[in-house]
């Protein structure tokens, strides 16, 4: 058994911390995160309020926990949504080749060139800002990423002799994509999904910061950050806490993705 790369271990620990906090917030938080207490605003950390209270006297720790749940949920749903569509398009492009492949990949190029923020603003203008807008916008930017990774990996698999054997057996392209291509490109797709998860958390924070994502009273790290911005000199800790949470989550998923790539990609020679 070789030693696991340190980035994998650190990433897994941080991700477990964030995911565990998010899960715990479903059943328990120290306080109701929406409970106001104007007289107890800007309270310093204490036994009652572990990280103190904000400008409306709400418990900061409880808000951060619930915000973790929102961030993870938004990232999970959007990456899964974008991933499923992107992988399907990538598999289709690779299986069909020719004109179909060219058309799908050129559309993906356009998707790459289209700024996600602009798309989110557009959606928010039409449907009103909500977490759903954030989810759809993030899913949208994920589609071309997954389509590209999938097509590149799948194209390699299509030249393998076992795929030729399946073709000689009389298997169709759809069945070969399902039976041979997808299982053999699962590793790079999972790695990409982990890295996209980090980007999605950052994107959710950014959209919520701009008011295009989570709406009050639903707490979000990005929205906490934007609300704390005006109070920077009065209570800098209110901006620092959600900032640290975003850093922890993004760093965790990035390191996990890197670590997974290190142990699954045979092209990277491990020097340990």
């Amino acid at each position: 058994m070789t030693r696991l790369p340190p980035n994998l271990v650190i990433g897994a620990v941080l991700v477990a911390l964030v995911a565990g906090t998010a899960a715990l917030s479903l059943v328990w938080t120290p306080h109701d995160h929406t409970l106001l207490n104007i007289r107890g605003k800007f309270a310093p950390p204490s036994e009652l309020h572990w990280l103190g209270t904000d400008q409306l006297g709400r418990d900061v720790f409880s808000q951060l926990m619930v915000a973790a749940r929102n961030s993870v949920a938004v990232a999970l749903i959007s990456v899964c949504l974008g991933g499923v569509i992107g992988v399907a398009l990538g598999l289709l492009a690779s299986a069909m080749g020719g004109v179909v492949e060219d058309v799908i990949m050129r559309i993906a190029d356009i998707g790459f060139a289209f700024p996600a923020l602009l798309f989110a603003i557009m959606l928010a203008a039409v449907f009103g800002p909500s977490l759903m807008v954030a989810i759809i916008a993030i899913a949208f930017i994920n589609i071309p990423v997954f389509a590209r990774v999938t097509r590149a990996s799948a194209n390699q698999i299509w030249t393998r002799e076992y795929v030729y054997a399946a073709r000689a057996a009389g298997m169709g392209r759809v069945v070969i994509s399902r039976d041979h291509v997808l299982p053999n490109i699962a590793a790079p797709i999972i790695v990409q999904a982990t890295i996209e998860f980090a980007i999605a958390i950052l994107a959710e924070a950014a959209l919520s910061y701009l008011g295009l994502g989570a709406q009050p009273p639903a707490p979000s790290w990005g929205r906490m950050l934007s609300e704390a911005q005006t109070l920077m000199y009065l209570a800098p800790q209110l901006a620092i806490y959600p900032g640290l949470c975003i850093v922890t989550a993004v760093l965790g998923f990035s390191l996990l993705g890197d670590g997974l790539r290190d142990i699954t990609d045979p092209r990277l020679v491990r020097q340990r």
Partner: protein, 256 residues
């Protein structure tokens, strides 16, 4: 009876263009190759790498269409068949590949891989996988193992089991023993000859090694840069090579 008839088949590839406005150069990989193969017989195709023999194999397998000429399997033109009809015909001609490490999906059990041609046609699977494994000298219990649990020679046996499970009339073996060491090569060649006797297989045996070809084939076709330079009975060509190229292949095989 003629099983496979290749009539003046040509395949050209367009190479990357050298300059932006120049027409892309064309490589003629196979140039008007013709031969026939009778049921139950073996034809060897010999040539050095780049001589077009693998392209020929891919066209016979229906993976690529010839640019000119026809490939008739059992009287049916492969390139002219609609896809569904070609798929129905596929169980009757199967292929064994060069690389025993690349021709089996590493994520599937060998039993799953061997059953693939049966599933493709909706044929009854029961018992046939075990039978095919026994045919190639493996145990039916091996069906549950993964490719990495086998040696190169054993994997090639698995690949052959997959190729014969539908009882094809034609087996295309593209460098099927080239990746194996000498003693294993002999075992696999013996296996192919035994299977030919048992199942009445016709074999299109493609190799760079004239020594191997001469040990298994009745007839041989010698290719150089896509062109057929010599064609005839093995004994005759061995005794009396008509070209310097064939002579050099004989020398490379230690036969001269």
């Amino acid at each position: 009876m003629t099983l496979l008839s290749v009539e003046a088949v040509t395949r050209r590839y367009r190479l990357p263009r050298r300059a932006l406005w120049s027409p892309p150069p064309v490589l003629t990989a196979v140039d008007a190759a013709s031969f026939t193969l009778d049921a139950g017989r073996t034809l060897g195709v010999v040539g050095e790498s780049g001589s077009g023999k693998s392209t020929l194999a891919r066209m016979v397998m229906g993976f690529e269409r010839p640019d000119a000429g026809r490939i008739l399997f059992d009287g049916q033109d492969l390139a002219a068949l609609p896809p569904a009809a070609l798929r129905r015909l596929r169980p009757r001609f199967q292929m064994v590949f060069q690389d025993p490490y690349g021709s089996l999906d590493p994520r599937r059990t060998v039993g799953w891989s061997i059953a693939e041609p049966l599933r493709a046609t909706g044929a009854e699977e029961r018992g046939k996988v075990a039978e095919a494994l026994e045919h190639v000298g493996l145990r039916p219990a091996d069906a549950g193992k993964y490719p990495h649990e086998f040696s190169g020679g054993q994997r090639q046996r698995v690949a052959i089991a997959r190729a014969i499970v539908t009882r094809p009339a034609l087996l295309v073996a593209d460098e099927a023993v080239s990746a194996l060491d000498m003693s294993v090569q002999a075992q696999i060649l013996n296996l192919l000859m035994d299977l030919q006797d048992e199942l009445g297989l016709a074999i299109l045996f493609i190799s760079h090694d004239l020594a191997v070809v001469s040990s298994i084939c009745d007839h041989v076709l010698v290719m150089e840069h896509g062109k057929t330079v010599e064609q005839g009975a093995v004994g005759q060509i061995m005794r009396n090579p008509g070209t310097a190229y064939t002579k050099s292949l004989l020398q490379a095989g230690g036969l001269l």
